[in-house]
Homo-oligomer: 192 residues x 2
DNA sequence: CTATTCATTTATCATATGATAAATAATCAC
DNA sequence: GTGATTATTTATCATATGATAAATGAATAG
């Protein structure tokens, strides 16, 4: 693809590590844009993650099944990177899927080719290092949010930090993200 | 320090990204070794994390206070890296402390100097990228372990995956790591 | 060694959340 | 638009865990 077709992506990159023109071109060369309809999965569960996604438009979630129950790991909105890191970084098959919750336009970056670029472009390796460091920090905070808070507190925190999630996403998906059943979430919301 | 004084550290590094002799020398130059007594803190809560630690010997934990309650974020044993990433990667003060649980010998690597080395040694940047990618993946798995499991299941999983934790660490610290009170953990242990 | 502090267990009671079922409400296919 | 599917709420009951208190056991200082 051309760099000019990926402006939101490169805008996003600037927040972490601005790239040289050459760096941008090389990333553009291994990227593609696709659109996806609501309720479709980007990839089936069980496949190894070989693409890093960037959400131009739409909403998505990563989910998996635990004992047959659908569990949401995380939600993603416009201008964010989506990757199943437990597969991307280990090369093992992912037991998770990325599902589109609102019609989406998504940039896909081939990860094998990206990792090859790391060798000739330290700036690209640094960029993704910083992106994933930030994601790591978020995950650490997520654990703090879970530990020792009641479901009601977690719900209220989400309401404050990311009201979008509660406005735009089916509650059944939010419940498992909060670590409770859908019925409990409904009850908590009813409390007032 | 000399490279020869840091063999366990460089052995550990080899699992992620083997370094050139020059790379090792440069890391050795910004490292130091110290011993710490049981129950001491490496750094007070509130200071910004400027050191990445490697545990040659001993046991440690990262902990913080939430609503006045001591919560264990994680445990660390011999041959592991310890860092409060939410401070290291953001430059913000850390609300967490590293406490020594068994007399320890610890390598400290100055993080500002390390980050400078990244510029001239891509191999070093890559090494730490991989180390923290692996830690990130572990953290993601940790969340899966918390979500939708009872305290008893979490306890039994820990017993299986890391019996060392339960054998060598005071239960009061383990309880908060599992997300329950110390009294509940004691009851769960008593069950069978 | 003794006393003091600290860690762990045990017991009781209160409560938040799960499980299940059923009633509404909203969405979707045709 | 209508019916069928899917999502959400409401209700009831069961249970795991928290809060508190007290008893026992272990570690530590002097």
């Amino acid at each position: 693809m051309e760099v000019t077709e990926l402006l939101p992506l490169f805008q996003f990159f600037k927040k972490y590590n601005p790239l040289s023109t050459d760096g941008e071109k090389n990333i553009a060369a291994i990227s593609s844009i696709n659109t996806f309809k609501k309720n479709t999965d980007l990839q089936p569960i069980g496949h190894t993650c070989k693409t890093i996604y960037f959400l131009n438009k739409g909403i998505a979630r990563i989910y998996y099944f635990k004992d047959g129950i659908d569990i949401t790991e995380n939600f993603y909105f416009e201008n964010s990177i989506i990757a199943r890191v437990e597969s991307l970084f280990t090369g093992k098959p992912s037991l998770k899927a990325i599902q589109i919750l609102e019609d989406a336009e998504i940039v896909g970056i081939n990860s094998n080719q990206l990792f090859k670029l790391y060798d000739s472009f330290p700036e690209i390796e640094r960029l993704f290092r910083k992106i994933f460091e930030a994601a790591y920090v978020e995950t650490v905070h997520r654990i703090e949010g879970i530990q020792f808070h009641t479901a009601e507190e977690r719900y209220k925190a989400l309401l404050q930090e990311a009201p979008d999630v509660l406005m735009r996403i089916p509650l059944k998906y939010v419940a498992s993200y909060l670590g409770i059943t859908q019925v409990s979430l409904s009850r908590i919301r009813g409390l007032k």
